[in-house]
Every structure is written in structure tokens, then in C-alpha cells.
């Protein structure tokens, strides 16, 4: 198999001294066998695969995208700064053209971390992709970014963060939320009023195999990407769709992951979940690295690989075809849906109940966005958590219009401080983050 070789950056940080708890899936051992396989294959000896040490993200990088309560340092450990820093290193190497693409094979993951962070949910504290993307925009100018999240769990955190951003296309393929944590990610979740159609959810039924994943890639994701024309494609490379994963029910394989990567051709891939640490991760990761580097991956397979035994049923194939058609039709009619949804409203309000399963916290949130045709619209958030913290935040989006900025600033200035423990102001374009206690 002759392929065009690419220069691929690898940021490998297995954090061999960090775990959520000793027997937690997110523990020291998670990338041990992946490291063994990557080393034994000698991948780092390839001229076109270059390993980089991760940098450290800073609290400013976090505050550019998150509202951490009470502050960033209270919700993270060093490991989070390194995994976000690893993603940032990957981005720097790609944007500075040192490499053609890069894979941040780092932990802990981030895609369940939402805009407001009261604690950890779904093993995630901070959203490492979002931190990376805003770092890119800050340092390399405004970019249209597409995130294709292939983790088996719906990336509800990434969706929340980019819900109102028309310049970030968030596409998630995951196991149907009726059968798996976090229970969201249905096609009707389609983006906020100013960004309809830039959130796309593709919930696949349990037992979907390579065929189903590649079908939605070819018939739904790639066509939408063609229209969106992103400057950068990010793969949130979760690996828990694998047929051996202990906490999910899908039938994806190492070959499938590699082929998906080859077709999607992401500029940056960032590891998310994936907990079949011995039977799947070593092979998936070798497959992804080889695919990104344009090296023959046809011999990468799991020891117990048997395509017949994990083949999806005809029913599933039909279901997925119908699903893909439905989502594509919905996406094509995004403009007309907006008219119906928004009407004459000037603001739209959205109430959320958020569960932090990892830290056992509950949050009630009211999010308001200004309807705007010129930018993503400024957002205010009123959030109360079971920790006792009550906060208010004003967020001015990137590439904001003057009206959204001045109105947002006014609201921040006039909010009654006595009602809240903390009030936050975040302005992406000016890279301003302020807290009032």
C-alpha cells in the first residue's frame, strides 16, 4: 500500500503517576500497554514521526474558555495543565508548520467539561480541546474549526462550550444517549439560535461496527465538512467505541479507527476516552499514528480480531442509513429552522441541570444568549451548584459585534454583586478575564 507520507507530531504523556482513584478507569495503567506497543513498533524511529514533550497550559489558557468556580486552580491538578498543555503543543507544532499533523496522546481527557466548571464530570475537569482551540485563535488568528468527536460518549462539554459559536462546527458520533452516559447528544440538539447546524449529533445504536461508522463518515460528516470549509479539523479521538471496551457497547476496530483517521485527515487529534487498555488501546493508537503519518497500517489488528463476529446486523445498517439521511436533511434546512425557532425574540433563555458524576455535584444553570446576526451573541450564565456556590458570568464571544460587546459590558457593570458569590467577565477577543468576589 503506497501512501503519501506526512510528518506527524506525537505528544505522548501517559501521566504514569496520576489517577482519579486507584481502581478508576482513568488510572496510571491506562496508557501503559499503548506505550509498550508504540515503543516496540519503533514508531518514534520513523523519520516522519516526531515526539514532542508537552508544554504546560496556564490558568490564562483555561480562563479564556472556562468559568471555573471559584477559580481554575481549585478545580484542576498539574495533570490537567499537562494534558491541556500537550494539546497546545500539538497545535503549535502544526500551526508553525513543523509537522503536517499531530496527535496529543495525553490524559486526563476533557470533552465532558462544560463552559462552567464546578468540579469533575465524566472523568473530565477542563476541556483540553476547547482550551487548545481558543489558544490557537488567540495566537494564530480567528480560524474556522471543525471538531469531530469520535468518543463513544457524547461530548456534552464540547457541545456546551461551542453551542453558540457559528465558527466552530462540533460533530459528535457516539453511542445513543438512551443507552449510555451522559444521556444526551440527540439529532435535535443542533446548536444555539445564532449557530444552528454547527452542532451535529449522530447517536449510533449499540453494536454498530466499522461499516456503520464509516457510513456516517462518508455520507454525513465529510459532506458537511466540505460545506463548512474549516481551516482546521480536530479529532476528539476517544477510543471507547472499540468492541472490547468495558464500559460501552459498540463494535469499532483498530482498522476502523485507522481508516476513519485516514479519511478524515485531521490536523490535530487529541485522545479522549477509551478504557480497554490492554486489548484495544495499543492497537488503536498504533493504527491512528500510522494512518496520520501515511504509513501502511493494514497489519495492525487486535489479537482476537474477527470481523465476522462483530459485524453489525442488517437492521442496524438500515437504521443508520435512515438516521444519516434524517440528520443531513435537518442540517440542510438549518436556515429555515432558525426563522421558526427565533421569530422576533431578542434573547433566548435555556435552563440546564448538570450532573457532575465524578465529583458528585449538581448544578442548575440558566443561560441567556442575545440573538445576533453579526456574531455568536454574548451570553450570560446564572449558575448555582450543590457546593453552595452561586455565580453569574458574562461572556463576550470571539469575533464579537460592537453591540454584543457594549451590552455585555453594561450588564457586567450593573449586576448586583450581593446576589452572587462570584461574578465573572470573559472577553475572548480582548483576552480579558475578570472575577468580582
Amino acid at each position: 500500500m503506497l501512501k503519501k507520507k506526512k510528518k506527524t507530531g506525537l505528544i505522548f504523556f501517559p501521566a504514569f503517576d496520576w489517577a482519579i482513584s486507584p481502581t478508576h478507569p482513568e488510572r496510571e495503567e491506562r496508557l501503559l500497554y499503548t506505550q509498550d506497543q508504540v515503543f516496540e513498533e519503533g514508531l518514534l524511529d520513523f523519520e516522519n514521526i516526531i515526539e514532542f514533550k508537552p508544554g504546560l497550559a496556564t490558568t490564562s489558557d483555561i480562563n479564556r474558555i472556562h468559568i471555573c468556580v471559584p477559580d481554575a486552580n481549585s478545580v484542576i491538578t498539574e495533570s490537567h495543565l499537562i494534558s491541556a498543555g500537550g494539546a497546545i503543543t500539538a497545535a503549535d507544532k502544526v500551526l508553525q508548520k513543523e509537522v503536517d499533523n499531530a496527535f496529543a496522546l495525553v490524559r486526563p481527557p476533557g470533552h465532558h467539561a462544560m463552559r462552567v466548571v464546578h468540579g469533575a464530570r465524566g472523568f473530565c475537569n477542563i476541556n483540553i480541546e476547547a482550551i487548545m482551540i481558543e489558544y490557537i485563535r488567540k495566537n494564530y488568528g480567528p480560524k474556522r474549526v471543525a471538531i469531530v468527536d469520535t468518543d463513544c460518549h457524547h461530548g456534552d462539554g464540547s457541545q456546551d462550550i461551542y453551542w453558540h459559536d457559528p465558527n466552530t462546527l462540533y460533530i459528535s458520533i457516539h453511542q445513543d444517549g438512551r443507552t449510555l452516559y451522559p444521556g444526551s447528544g440527540f439529532p435535535e440538539e443542533f446548536g444555539g439560535p445564532n449557530a444552528l447546524g454547527t452542532t451535529i449529533n449522530i447517536p449510533l445504536p449499540p453494536q454498530t461496527s466499522d461499516e456503520g461508522f464509516l457510513y456516517v463518515l462518508d455520507n454525513l460528516i465529510l459532506p458537511i465538512l466540505d460545506t463548512f470549509k474549516p481551516d482546521l479539523i480536530i479529532n476528539s479521538a476517544g477510543q471507547d467505541n472499540h468492541y472490547t471496551d468495558p464500559i460501552t457497547n459498540m463494535c469499532f476496530t483498530a482498522q476502523g479507527y485507522a481508516l476513519l483517521n485516514e479519511k478524515l485527515s485531521p490536523d490535530i487529534a487529541v485522545l479522549e476516552g477509551g478504557y480497554s487498555i490492554e486489548s484495544a488501546l495499543p492497537y488503536i493508537n498504533v493504527g491512528i499514528i500510522l494512518a496520520m503519518a501515511g504509513i501502511d497500517y493494514s497489519h495492525v489488528r487486535e489479537p482476537d480480531y474477527d470481523p465476522e463476529s462483530i459485524k453489525q446486523s442488517d437492521d442496524i445498517s438500515r437504521y443508520i442509513e435512515k438516521l444519516a439521511t434524517g440528520i443531513y436533511d435537518l442540517w440542510k434546512s438549518r436556515e429555515s429552522i432558525k426563522e421558526k425557532l427565533v421569530g422576533n425574540a431578542e434573547y433566548m433563555k435555556h435552563e440546564k441541570n448538570i450532573n457532575y458524576d465524578t465529583d458528585g455535584i449538581r448544578e442548575e444553570q440558566e443561560e441567556t444568549v442575545r440573538i445576533c446576526n453579526d456574531c455568536g451573541g454574548f451570553v450570560t450564565i446564572n449558575s448555582t451548584a450543590s457546593t453552595g456556590n452561586r455565580i453569574f458570568a458574562v461572556i463576550i464571544p470571539g469575533q464579537s459585534c460592537p453591540a454584543c460587546r457594549s451590552e455585555g459590558e453594561e450588564i457586567f457593570a450593573s449586576t448586583d454583586k450581593s446576589d452572587f458569590n462570584y461574578i465573572y467577565f470573559q472577553d475572548r477577543d480582548r483576552d480579558i478575564f475578570q472575577v468580582v468576589k
Partner: protein
């Protein structure tokens, strides 16, 4: 007394050392056709008025293995690879006699597919028909379970003069490197074995039971009879000899830089707290990336005899060498000529040097003296830049724990040691550029021989214990043994150190020189479902490169 001999490409050096003082040194031209002849000549020089019977040991650093590989004087090797899933065979095939078999083990050392005996026998028959007498057997993850390599060897055992097994080469993970190391080991085994026989016969005459050692690429020594099993370890011992020489000639217990500035190239080495740094995995020779432990050196194409050109308004130095410096009758201007013109050294014919530099001065519109100074500055700058890059590379090496990332040691060199022809005129300026005091060791002209003479025996061992599978592997020793129900990381470390001690003695070490260091010490809980099912313990210990004991701390042999 100890005798160190370094057979280099051009010269063969010898140094006779008594009570850590240099008693005598000698330098003769290397006879490329006959290594024995070179040895005989240099020993003749050394022993002209000496009684050789006083010798306690002889250490040899030779180019025999390196030259065999570089000149392609190697044996044909049949390779049998159990490559399992991963890279395609096309990426692993290193010669036309590479054959792939179906068995393999996984990352934990669990046998996933068994060896097909018929398949192996057929390959063996094919090798015999082809007249192949040397074989290599390498399995993916054979360092985790060596059983399959042994199984294949037992099938083909009686059909070959020599068989090299992958797991014996190194405990490191890296299948392609294990393949090339095994290949090289088998390919030079005949030649090397004959060399050892000849040497033993030749030196045997000098005295009864004189211990003879061979210098390895990692700057350590190996008893000559033991070296027959690992001939590949003896490649690239020249640069190692030079680094060990500098170590013995300087008070170098800090982070330091060592430069060997030659005619064509400059070799850079780095010491961390006085210990020469090793290549992370192994040395590279003739495009073969290997698992052969070796000192970390970087060779750049700039030396005293590099050709200096003036091209598109700038001065270009090296990497070509057209011959000696113009001052010594060479065809092109060189940094050496520039140093002569700039008055930094008094060697050679200054008129010839000036004549060679003049055209460059004219074209760059400068007086000849100024042009010479520029060439000198640029030469120093280029070397300094490469040194800085190498240090940065070392400081940026990837680490895999939060602790190492946040607390890891950073190299900050305190001393610059310079040897080689142009050391005298260049050292001070290089020191300024690198912001550390420069030092030129005495006896540097025979540094290699001294380094060989005083190097200690080095070796390393890798232990992997899997308490769920209740087995422990110490792969370099070919050990795979059951472990008791209770087996801790402390037990593993203790076992590994005991075995390393035994191995060091076998390799020829003196007890007092076995300075052990733990280079990897990790323990992982293996959790399946929500229960801890065992521990995965990984230990690597080594006897690090260094000098034999006898020298006090901070003491040099001069």
C-alpha cells in the same frame, strides 16, 4: 600496570598506566590490512624497555566490528521474524533472507499464536540450500516472553554455525531495532570470533592468564571471552574511548561538555554530574538503528581541515574535507589556515595559509587578517550552536510522569573539555560562546588509549514481573521464572540487583567497580473490572559507564 590500546582509523595509540599515572605512551600508524600488525607495532613501542609480565590487564578498543559493517565484510544472515500485528513485513525486512513466521506474543508476554514447526523447518531447509550459515531469530515482544525465540532455535539449532537471539541483545522494547541488532550481531560473529582467537593466541604469549578486555560502545569493558556472544556491542568503541579518556583526564564531576575536534568532524559528548550520557535506545551505524548501548555523541561536519568556501556573499565551512590544511600542502583554505593567519597558532607554513585565505578576503572585501578572524569565529559559532542544540534536545527529552516533567533534572554544563588538533587555539573562544570555562586535558593525544585502559565493566538488566501471571522475566539473562504469590517491587529490585551483580562479575567486573544504578523502577496496579488483579513491575538497573576504582574523587590521572 594496565595497558590500554585504541586501534583507530589512522593511528593506533597505547598508554601504559601504573598506579594511575601514565608511565608510557605510544602512537603508531594503523595498518589497515593487519590489525595484529598494528597491535604488534604499538606494543613494541610500549615494551621496548619494559617488563610486560607486570601487566594486570589489557583493554582493547578496536575498529574491527565497525569496519566489517562499514565495509560490508559481513556474513549472510538468515532472519526468522515473528512479527505479529503492527508494522507491515515490508517495513521490517532488512535483507532478502528475512522470513516471517506466524507465531507471536503480545505486550504482556502472553503467547497469542503458537510457532508452526513445519513453517520454521521449511525456512531452515531453504537457508541450508542457500548456503546460509548464520541465523537470527527475533520475536516482537520477545523481551516480554523469550519462549518462542528459544522454541524456534531448538528447531533449527543443528544447522548453523551461529544463531543470534533477539532477546539476548537488549531489554529495551523496539522490534525493528532488535531485528537490526540481531542481524548485525550474527553478521559479524565469524569475523569477530576469529579476531578474539587471534588476539588471545597473540597476547597469551605475553604472560600467563592475562585478563584481556574489549571496549564497548557504551564506554564499558567486557571480558574478551564473553564478548564473543555479543560482537555487536563492540562497534563504535572509538568515540567511547575518547569520551572515557576525557573523563579520566579531567576533574569532571559536574555537568560538562566534551569536544573532540578532528580534521573532518567534531564529536560532541555530554556529561551529567560527571557521567557520560548514553543514547536512549542505542547507537546507529550505517543506517541501522540498533539497541546497542552506546554513549551519546553527536558528530558534526566541521573540523580543522574542513573546506572553506565563499558562496553567495557568505562564508561556508565544511562539511567536505579536501585534504590537509593549505599550510600543510592541502588544496583548499581551512579553519586551521585561518587560525594560522589570525595568529592563533604557530603551526605549518603561514605563507601558504595566507595565500589560501586571500581569495576569500578579496571576495568578501576585507583585509586577509580580518577574513581569517571571521572564518575562525564562524567555525566556533557553528560548533557552539550544535552543542547548544544537543543540550536542548537532552533537556527536552520526553518524560512520562508528572513528577519528572515538573521536577526533572536540567543539564547546565559547567565545564568545557576540548581535545583534538585545533583544541589549543579554539578552546577559549568556544568556552566564551558556551559560557563555561574551557579546559584542555594533558595527554589528550592518547586520550582514547587511556580511556580504554581505565574504563570499568558495564552492563544492564531488565526485570519485568507480572504478579497476575506469576512470572518474572530477566530477559538479557534469558531467565523466565515463576514468582511467589507475594512479590513486591522491593523484591523485584533486590532480585534484579543481585542478578546484575552476578552478571557484572561474569562479564569481568571487579567487585569494587560494580556501581549499580536503578534507571527504571515502576509499579502499576493491574485492574480488571473493578478489582486489582495483580501488579506489573518494571525494573531496569545498570552499572553505569565510569572508571575503575582507585582514582579519588576529583582526582585526575595526570
Amino acid at each position: 600496570m594496565i595497558l590500554g590500546i585504541d586501534v583507530g582509523g589512522t593511528h593506533t595509540d597505547a598508554a601504559l598506566i601504573e598506579n594511575f599515572k601514565i608511565k608510557k605512551k605510544a602512537k603508531v600508524l594503523t595498518n589497515e590490512i593487519s590489525l595484529m600488525d598494528s597491535l604488534l607495532n604499538v606494543m613494541g613501542e610500549i615494551f621496548r624497555d619494559e617488563d610486560s609480565l607486570d601487566l594486570k590487564r589489557i583493554v582493547l578498543s578496536t575498529t574491527i566490528s565497525t569496519n566489517a559493517i562499514v565495509q560490508g565484510k559481513t556474513e549472510r544472515v538468515g532472519l526468522i521474524l515473528a512479527s505479529g500485528p503492527g508494522l507491515p513485513p515490508s517495513a521490517l525486512k532488512i535483507n532478502n533472507d528475512t522470513h516471517f513466521i506466524s507465531g507471536y506474543v503480545n505486550h504482556r508476554g502472553i503467547e497469542i499464536a503458537g510457532i508452526d514447526h513445519d513453517e520454521v523447518s521449511q525456512i531452515c531447509e531453504h537457508f541450508k540450500k542457500e548456503g546460509i550459515e548464520h541465523a537470527g531469530i527475533v520475536g516482537k515482544f520477545s523481551t516480554r516472553n523469550l519462549k518462542q525465540e528459544i522454541e524456534v532455535r531448538d528447531i533449527i539449532n543443528n544447522n548453523f554455525k551461529h544463531i543470534s537471539l533477539g532477546h539476548r541483545m537488549s531489554g529495551h522494547l523496539n522490534f525493528p531495532r532488535r531485528v537490526s541488532t540481531t542481524y548485525l550481531n550474527a553478521a559479524i560473529s565469524d569475523l569477530y570470533t576469529n579476531f578474539v582467537k587471534e588476539i588471545s593466541k597473540f597476547l597469551g604469549k605475553s604472560g600467563p592468564k592475562l585478563p584481556i578486555y574489549i571496549l564497548k560502545a557504551d564506554g564499558g569493558t567486557l571480558e574478551i571471552d564473553k564478548s564473543v556472544e555479543y560482537p555487536a556491542q563492540t562497534i563504535l568503541s572509538g568515540p567511547a574511548a575518547s569520551i572515557m579518556g576525557i573523563l579520566s583526564l579531567t576533574d569532571c564531576r559536574k555537568d560538562a561538555i566534551a569536544l573532540d575536534i578532528g580534521g573532518t568532524t567534531t564529536d560532541i559528548a555530554i556529561f551529567a554530574d560527571g557521567i557520560p550520557l548514553l543514547e536512549p535506545l542505542g547507537v546507529t551505524i550505517e543506517g541501522h538503528k540498533t539497541l546497542i548501548r552506546g554513549l551519546r555523541t553527536k558528530s558534526i561536519g566541521i573540523g580543522g581541515d574542513s573546506r572553506v568556501k565563499y558562496e553567495s556573499n557568505s562564508i561556508v565551512i565544511g562539511p567536505e574535507r579536501d585534504g590537509p590544511a593549505a599550510a600543510f600542502g592541502g588544496p583548499s583554505p581551512t579553519p586551521t589556515d585561518a587560525m594560522i593567519v589570525a595568529g592563533l597558532t604557530n603551526i605549518g607554513d603561514k605563507e601558504k595559509a595566507t595565500a589560501a585565505i586571500s581569495p576569500i578576503a578579496r571576495r568578501s572585501g576585507r583585509p586577509v587578517h580580518e577574513a581569517a578572524k571571521m572564518i575562525f569565529d564562524l567555525t566556533c559559532q557553528k560548533i557552539a550552536t550544535s552543542v547548544k542544540e544537543m543540550i536542548e534536545e537532552i533537556n527536552n527529552r520526553p518524560v512520562y510522569t508528572i513528577h519528572e516533567l515538573l521536577e526533572g533534572k536540567k543539564l547546565i554544563p559547567q565545564v568545557l573539555n576540548v581535545v583534538g588538533g585545533p583544541a589549543e587555539p579554539m578552546a577559549e573562544h568556544l568556552g566564551k560562546l558556551l559560557e563555561c570555562p574551557a579546559h584542555i586535558p594533558e595527554h589528550a593525544e592518547v586520550a582514547n588509549a587511556i580511556g580504554a585502559a581505565l574504563a570499568r565493566t558495564t552492563t544492564e538488566l531488565t526485570l519485568l514481573a507480572d504478579t497476575e501471571r506469576k512470572t518474572m522475566t530477566i530477559v538479557e539473562e534469558g531467565l523466565q521464572i515463576p514468582i511467589p504469590n507475594v512479590f513486591s517491587r522491593e523484591d523485584a529490585l533486590k532480585t534484579c540487583k543481585e542478578k546484575l551483580f552476578e552478571r557484572s562479575l561474569k562479564m569481568g567486573a571487579k567487585k569494587e567497580d560494580i556501581d549499580m544504578e536503578t534507571i527504571e523502577d515502576q509499579e502499576f496496579n493491574m485492574v480488571r473490572g473493578f478489582y486489582t488483579t495483580g501488579k506489573n513491575i518494571r525494573i531496569k538497573v545498570q552499572v553505569k559507564p565510569g572508571l575503575i576504582t582507585g582514582l579519588g574523587k576529583g582526582q585526575t590521572i595526570c
